[in-house]
């Protein structure tokens, strides 16, 4: 009989069929990045620049040497922390879109401690600030958790709305009660030296960054090797079976929101005591929202989150330099960044569909 057509089909599907999820990630993410860069090159050509030279600049300015790598890591730090927290939340399919707000409240709490706790010695003050950030962020995660558990309110909506409230609170404080004494701009006073993150290893790499990097294996361990990680995954995969198995579904929702809120809050404190040093109308480069992308692109795997946050940071620094060095418009840089992210997602979903 004529069996030829089906044999061809077999070859076509089997490459992906037998591949494990890790292998799929290793195929899909780099090829997505490549596709994005190729599409970006078209834009660069249209803008009248040389794409190869542009990409060389992007690479050398973000990953081309020790100092560049350290700057990229510093930039990646808030994304990494938020991405790690959101991974836990997303594993439980608790769609926390409120990391931005949790970050702002964490920054506020951390700033308060840093501002008014200057009498304390630095080794006490810094941990206290970080703790305040954790608490602030988790309080902002607690609210949607309570709303969900008590009233069944949709987490996406409550966390999204709470973002605006948090940002407005910080903005109000920065131009009202906490405004810099004698200042005109809507911003608070600068933190004193004692309230800044200590730098490590004689480089600009700061304590916050080191904490974020150390959290990667810790969170990975929680996910893969503790009953807590197991239960979060179970609740996310199938809440009905999780309940049948005796897992407390509400507790999992609670933990997911508190944990992701806490890490976002800590990221806020770290940024406020390094990059911004004061509260003002904007203290984030959309970290909370990009964190969502990073957690998803990193497949909620902490190592994946580490790679994607570094990639995001490198891309941001790279396109900034394109603007500075060869004068490409900032909007073009944003477009390249968006293209790369989109391409990764498209390629990824395409490969996954083939594999199933």
């Amino acid at each position: 009989m004529n069996r030829e057509p089906s044999k061809i089909q077999r070859r076509r599907t089997d490459i992906f069929h037998t591949a494990s999820p890790t292998v799929l990630n290793l195929i899909s993410i780099p090829s997505g990045i490549l596709l994005g860069l190729i599409l970006g090159a078209v834009l660069i050509v249209i803008a009248g620049a040389d794409p190869i030279a542009s990409y060389k600049i992007m690479f050398s300015s973000s990953l081309g040497g020790k100092n560049q790598i350290i700057e990229t890591l510093i930039k990646a730090c808030p994304l990494l922390l938020i991405g790690l927290g959101l991974s836990a939340s997303f594993k439980a399919k608790v769609w926390n879109i409120g990391a931005e707000g949790q970050y702002y409240i964490g920054a506020l709490f951390g700033w308060m401690v840093g501002m008014y706790g200057t009498a304390l010695p630095k080794p006490v003050l810094i941990p206290l600030m970080l703790t305040a950030g954790l608490i602030g962020g988790s309080l902002w995660g607690l609210l949607p958790a309570i709303l969900k558990i008590k009233n069944g309110m949709n987490v996406i909506i409550s966390t999204l709305m709470l973002n605006y409230i948090a940002i407005l609170i910080v903005q109000y404080l920065a131009r009202g009660p906490l405004q810099e004494p004698g200042g005109f701009l809507p911003r608070t006073a600068k933190l004193e030296r004692i309230a800044r993150m200590p730098q490590m290893f004689g480089t600009r790499l700061h304590l916050g960054c080191v904490i974020a990097l150390l959290l990667v294996p810790v969170v990975y361990y929680i996910f893969t090797s503790t009953p807590l990680g197991f239960k979060l995954r179970a609740v996310g995969s199938n809440p009905k079976v999780a309940k049948y198995a005796g897992f407390n579904v509400n507790l999992a929702i609670f933990i997911a929101l508190i944990f992701s809120g806490a890490l976002a809050g800590m990221a806020g404190t770290i940024e406020i005591s390094t990059a911004y040093q004061r509260l003002q109308s904007s203290i984030s480069l959309n970290y909370g929202f990009n964190g969502v992308l990073i957690a998803l692109l990193g497949r909620t795997n902490p190592w994946g989150v580490l790679l994607t946050s570094i990639f995001f940071a490198a891309l941001t620094i790279g396109v900034e330099n394109l603007h500075v060095v060869i004068g490409l418009p900032v909007s073009l840089s944003d477009a390249i960044q968006a293209l790369v992210v989109l391409s990764v997602m498209v390629v990824d979903s395409y490969i996954r569909k083939k594999a199933s």
Partner: protein
């Protein structure tokens, strides 16, 4: 010649298993052709290929003599195929009519606002084949039997000439099965052709024109129903003689393990589903709950396992009141539960078999030590359970959702028995299992009973209740209408009680409802 479906040399492998190893299968117009085979033999896979859900690795399919290459079920539907899956695919909150038009894409088809028109057309179809359903009823208010009819209606509405029915009778009550088989006959007399999968040999013998037997992905034989018998079929399926009747010792019940006192509970619609239910189960006995499906069994099962709250009454395990405690507390009281609805409740389909095998025990020693999961222990336990219960899988790392229906059920059983419970709630424990697996499970339950477990058995199969139970409680409209010792029970009488007619109270050992 004359074959409406012709599958030749079908090969399909999944990582680690060959589900179909060169299967030939054909269906003639107007016939019922049954597929028989043990759990994991490859029946569902073969049908999923025919329906365009999977792509075969090799082999050809022809419909009406024309070679086809389905990329997805829509292609298959366009060629007149319809499939009713082992588990239903209906949107619970939609009406019958809404479910039926769901996924219709042609713009010439009626749109949502033409639901009445669809209702009319549905009524026509259902009258023609005797498939009674109200087109405007919401799915979740329908019984399993009715939902089944909706699935068939859905296929017929889309113009199916060839129906694939994957274990349609597994979830039906004996009465519903009878009606169902009538419907099938009616369908074939109207020119439809049917592929029928079932583990119940008597049904297969009654309804089929031809029967094909699969074993380990290979087709063993195709025979005419009139030329064979149940015994031969069983032998061809399993590859050895099967002994379905077995000896069991008389029970030696000990202390009371589960006490249910004056329990009342509501159903999903908020109406009273259980009324003043009282009974107890002792260590070392099996109490069977007999009744026509839908008389409160599901609610009772859920209340006992902690998934549903009771409105009054008490539930006591080993002297400890666990009324309305959540499932994890019920688990701590060492009550294990084999749920009726294994697809929705029993397993996390995208977790590995190993993870599912220790689900409730994950945070206990030896699977967690010093707060950290002991994967080696978890894998060892899973491997041993899979081996003991003959769960057919390439690896314990396989996702539970990839298991065949019967093998999923075996895994749940293995897991629940391994928890070494004081009380086991076993609801439809052999649903979807092949004959040798049923034999194994029955032995396992009796063995556990003899080791002192208290077992509460729910089953819509009266024969299963009769062969396993030491005492039988009959439930009717949410009340326990009588509890009889197995020795005193006869089928006729239980049948009457299931219909709500009880014999004089003098001969009853004890009852939950009789007041004088």
């Amino acid at each position: 010649m004359g074959s409406i479906v012709e599958m030749q040399g079908i090969i399909k492998s999944f990582p680690g298993v060959t589900a179909n190893a060169g299967v030939d299968f054909d269906l003639k117009k107007g016939e019922i052709h049954s597929l028989l085979g043990e759990n994991g033999a490859g029946k569902t896979t073969l049908m999923n290929i025919l329906y365009g859900l999977y792509k075969q690795d090799a082999g050809t399919i022809s419909i009406n003599g024309e070679q086809v290459n389905f990329m997805n079920p829509s292609d298959a539907i366009a060629h007149g195929l319809g499939m009713v899956h082992q588990h239903f695919m209906l949107v619970q909150r939609f009406s019958v009519a809404e479910n039926i038009i769901l996924g219709q894409k042609s713009s010439r088809e009626p749109r949502i606002d033409d639901l009445n028109l669809i209702g009319k057309k549905l009524t026509e179809i259902s009258d023609l084949y005797g498939l009674k359903v109200n087109p405007h009823a919401i799915i979740w208010t329908l019984s399993v039997g009715e939902q089944q009819r909706v699935e068939i209606l859905k296929a017929l509405y889309r113009g199916a000439q060839i129906l694939i029915l994957d274990e349609p009778t597994a979830v039906l009550t004996p009465q519903e099965v009878k009606e169902f088989l009538e419907i099938l006959k009616r369908l074939t007399s109207e020119g439809k052709s049917i592929i029928f999968i079932s583990h119940k040999l008597s049904e297969v013998m009654e309804i089929s024109d031809r029967i094909s037997i699969l074993r380990d992905g290979k087709k063993i034989e195709t025979v005419f129903a009139k030329d064979t018998n149940e015994r031969d079929l069983a032998r061809m399926m399993v590859g050895r003689e099967v002994n379905t009747n077995f000896e069991k010792k008389v029970a030696e019940p000990h202390e009371v393990r589960l006490q249910v006192e004056h329990l009342c509970a509501n159903n999903n619609r908020g109406l009273e589903a259980l009324h003043d239910v009282s009974f107890d189960v002792r260590a070392g006995e099996i109490l069977g709950i007999a009744g026509v499906a839908g008389n409160g069994q599901n609610e009772l099962e859920e209340v006992l396992s902690g998934l549903r709250k009771s409105t009054s009454g008490k539930k006591i395990v080993c002297g400890k009141d666990i009324t309305n405690m959540p499932p994890h507390k019920v688990g701590i009281a060492r009550v294990a539960h084999i749920p009726t609805d294994r697809y929705k409740t029993g397993l996390i389909s995208d977790f590995m078999i190993s993870e599912n095998a220790v689900l409730q025990r994950i945070d206990r020693e030896p699977f967690t030590k010093h707060g950290s999961l002991q994967w080696k222990k978890i894998n060892e336990e899973a491997t041993s359970l899979v081996k003991r219960f003959g769960v057919k899988t390439p690896s314990i790392k396989t996702k539970a959702g990839k298991l065949s229906g019967g093998n999923a059920q075996k895994l749940i059983l293995a897991r629940e028995l391994a928890r070494d419970p004081y009380v086991l709630i076993a609801a439809q424990p052999t649903r979807g299992l092949d004959i040798s697996a049923i034999e194994y499970v029955h032995h396992a339950l009796i063995e556990q009973r003899d080791l002192g477990m208290a077992i509460l058995l729910f089953s819509t199969e009266l024969t299963e209740i009769l062969s396993l139970s030491d005492r039988i409680a009959v439930i009717y409209e949410g009340r326990i209408i009588g509890i009889i010792n197995r020795e005193d029970a006869d089928i006729l009488e239980i049948g009457l009680m299931m219909a709500g007619i009880k014999r004089p109270s003098s001969t009853l050992e004890q009852t939950g409802v009789i007041e004088s």
